[in-house]
Amino acid sequence: MNYDMEDTQNSAPGSLTANQASKLVAPRKGPDAQSTTKRLQTELMQLMTSPAPGISAFPSADGNLLSWTATIEGPDDTPYAGLTFKLSFAFPPNYPYAAPTVLFKTPIYHPNVDFSGRICLDILKDKWTAAYNIQTVLLSLQSLLGEPNNASPLNGEAAELWDKDPEEFKKKVLGRHRDVDDE
């Protein structure tokens, strides 16, 4: 059943095709929806004009606005102080109505990050809101470094050490960290 037909029966065939096209495009990668592009351009502008300390983000070199690379500096007074972490952002075509996929590219020892760099953070999952943006995500991740959620760890050992043996934890953090090349 073609619902588009019903909805647009009184409009020109051209608009129908356009409407359908945008729906067809939505689920796959490639030419993203116009509003998503516009939104990401605005975000880039915001990050450049009012940068937050300790974080940065920029679209990947290949010119695909749906793929970004970001960096976070480890906050002072945490085991991550002085370290820099790279992350990748992959935006869905219906961003900001769906969360971006964020991964740590730099190996990190953290209770809520697994060894593939996947992050357990509610705002990147079911608590995502369309009012969040790259900057708020990066700021949240930065504070996650200093305040891990040890109730739902991806790295159980790290969660245990965080409370029991800060010294050992810091050693593990430094041992795991290594700079990755720019893509």
Partner: protein
């Protein structure tokens, strides 16, 4: 599971060319293509099942069962995980076309008795509903769509333009109170105001195009989700701004901030009652729109419970009584839109029969189309054989008789002039049971009355009945409130009709016999063109005369009754 084939309406599709099909005014609603056609449409099956959580459970259980096989020790855990991750198959448009509420009844026909009773009563009050996709935004989308649709219904361009201004000014609330940065949501507000602006442009000239545009926008995920998110931000900002009114209703001790982050702002998070209250308070109450939420749940009772939310003054009285009302149907975890603007369809023919005296009032309006009667009178009697074709259509053949009975005395002289001496009077009382069952068609009628001033197709097409200036004059007839119910003798002993002329009321019959009498007569004869009755005349959406009648009540049409009385048609 619901089987669409079980609906009593589907046989219509196999009728082929039937007298019904030749009667453009047959549709009971007269305003919309509601009614039986909807049931041939397979859409609502899929939408309905997609929208109903009960159905999706089956899928979950099946999948879970498969995994139990592999990991029997963790079966409960696995099942819980699967249920948590379960994504219902969402099919259909975000906002679907209006459908008859009978679809809901059908959907629940095999459900819990509480649901059966409640859904059976539903269509009597709310004739139509509009399914909204259950993607987690249904409540937001239903209310948002209703907001735009109600603005369209009011057809007030100035009001829509005021709304553009109001929506733009609410940006301040979102920024200063809600704490959102303008650039994160300005694209969303733009979709709202853009749609309002387009609707304002279209409303004065072509409301239908405006409606089409609204449907188009709300079914474009990009636009629709932007508007829905704008509404979420409005509700969230309102809560932040006046927590004292709402914080007692926040669940799980989340606090204002927690509730905003967990219930209002997450994308695709279902609206709960507090969210709906906030949305209504920020979007609909300020412009005097009331919202009735109809709860279809398993609470006791045979009727759905409903709750009206509207702007009230300090005494609890609505500040805009009689203002536009939006109806939302709530089923656990889901919202759809209900409409009661069209005549409802009774489920039980028996109920309809008990209402016969009331229904007579309607029939008054269409009764005396004098122009018609004149032309009949002038018809050569040689066409008598074809005249009884006409008599198959009670609205035609019966009119003289009705006039005799129902008119108050001041109307008598014109009637006498018209009918009393007419040979037709003796013809007209032929009961439908005795008349030929031949299908009348416009063509046949045309042949018999080539010189009739309004084309004979008026018999079948209601479009031409309204222009007659005689209509309004008849609509003020005060006669019916005191009339006793019609009785059968008026059908069978028509010879008495002409003698009743001088005492219309004492005849004990109505202005015209009720259609239910004709149905009864047809029952006796086991055959008859009952399906014509006079629905063509009465239900014409072109006929505005009935609005003038203070006793006007929309006719109620029961498809089941029609079918029962025409078993032969089913075979065609």
């Amino acid at each position: 599971m619901f089987q669409p084939a079980a609906t009593p309406y589907s046989p219509f599709s196999t009728y082929g060319v039937t007298p019904i099909a030749t009667f453009p005014g047959f549709q009971p609603s007269g305003l919309d293509s509601g009614g039986p056609t909807l049931f041939r449409d397979p859409i609502f099956t899929s939408v309905a099942s997609a929208n109903t959580g009960a159905f999706s459970n089956n899928t979950t259980t099946t999948t879970a069962a498969a995994s139990q096989f592999k990991m029997s020790s963790h079966d409960l855990e696995a099942q819980a995980a699967l249920a948590r991750d379960f994504q219902p198959a969402l099919k259909g448009p975000l906002v679907a076309e209006k459908k008859s509420s009978l679809a809901i009844t059908e959907e629940y026909a095999k459900a819990d008795p509480v649901y059966v009773a409640k859904t059976a009563a539903l269509p009597q009050k709310y004739s139509h509903y509009r399914p909204i996709l259950g993607d987690g935004n249904c409540g937001w989308r239903a209310a948002g769509f209703s907001y735009f649709e109600t603005l369209l219904r009011l057809q007030n361009r100035a009001q829509i333009e005021e709304e553009i201004a109001r929506m733009t000014s609410l940006d301040n609330l979102i920024i200063t109170v809600g704490g959102f940065e303008a650039w994160t949501f300005e694209d969303m507000v733009e979709e709202t105001t853009k749609l309002l602006r387009a609707l304002a442009e279209l409303v004065p000239s072509s409301p239908q195009a405006a409606m089409d545009l609204l449907m188009q926008h709300f079914n474009n995920p990009e636009i629709s989700n932007a508007i829905v998110y704008h509404l979420r931000l409005l509700a969230s900002s309102l809560l932040q701004g006046s927590p004292e009114n709402y914080q007692d209703f926040i669940p799980d001790n989340l606090g204002v901030e927690g509730y905003r982050k967990n219930w209002l702002e997450p994308v695709d998070q279902e609206i709960d009652h507090l969210g709906m209250t906030l949305l209504i308070d920020v979007l609909l109450k300020p412009i005097g729109f009331a919202v009735e939420i109809v709860y279809l749940d398993r609470s006791e009772g045979t009727q759905v419970n409903s709750h009206i939310m509207q702007s009230q003054d300090s005494n609890g009285l609505p500040t805009n009584p009689g203002g536009p009302m939006i109806h939302l149907l709530y089923r656990p975890s889901h919202y759809d839109i209900l409409y009661k603007d069209l005549p409802s369809i009774p489920l039980q023919p028996l109920q309809a029969v008990s209402e016969v005296p009331r229904n007579q009032n309607i029939q008054v309006n269409r009764a005396a189309n004098f122009t018609h009667q004149h032309s009949i009178q002038s018809t050569p009697m040689g066409d008598y054989s074809q005249l009884d074709l006409l008599l198959c259509i009670p609205g035609f053949g019966l009119s003289p008789q009705q006039s005799h009975h129902g008119f108050p005395s001041q109307y008598q002289s014109p009637i006498d002039q018209t009918y009393a001496p007419s040979p037709i009077s003796s013809i007209s009382p032929i009961s439908p049971g005795t008349s030929s069952a031949t299908t009348p068609s416009s063509a046949a009628l045309q042949q018999s009355f080539p010189s009739q001033p309004p084309p004979p197709s008026t018999v079948t097409s209601p479009t031409l009945t309204s222009p007659h200036p005689s209509f309004p004059a008849n609509t003020s007839l005060p006669i019916h409130s005191h009339l006793p119910p019609p009785h059968r003798p008026s059908l069978t002993t028509h010879t008495s009709l002409s003698s009743d002329l001088s005492s219309p009321s004492s005849a004990g019959s109505s202005f015209r016999p009720s259609k239910y009498e004709w149905r009864a007569a047809a029952d006796w004869a086991q055959e008859g063109p009952v399906q014509f009755l006079t629905s063509t005349f009465k239900n014409s959406h072109y006929n505005t005369a009935h609005y003038n009648n203070p006793n006007f009540q929309p006719e109620e049409w029961s498809p089941e009754a029609d079918e029962q009385q025409n078993p032969r048609k089913r075979l065609n």
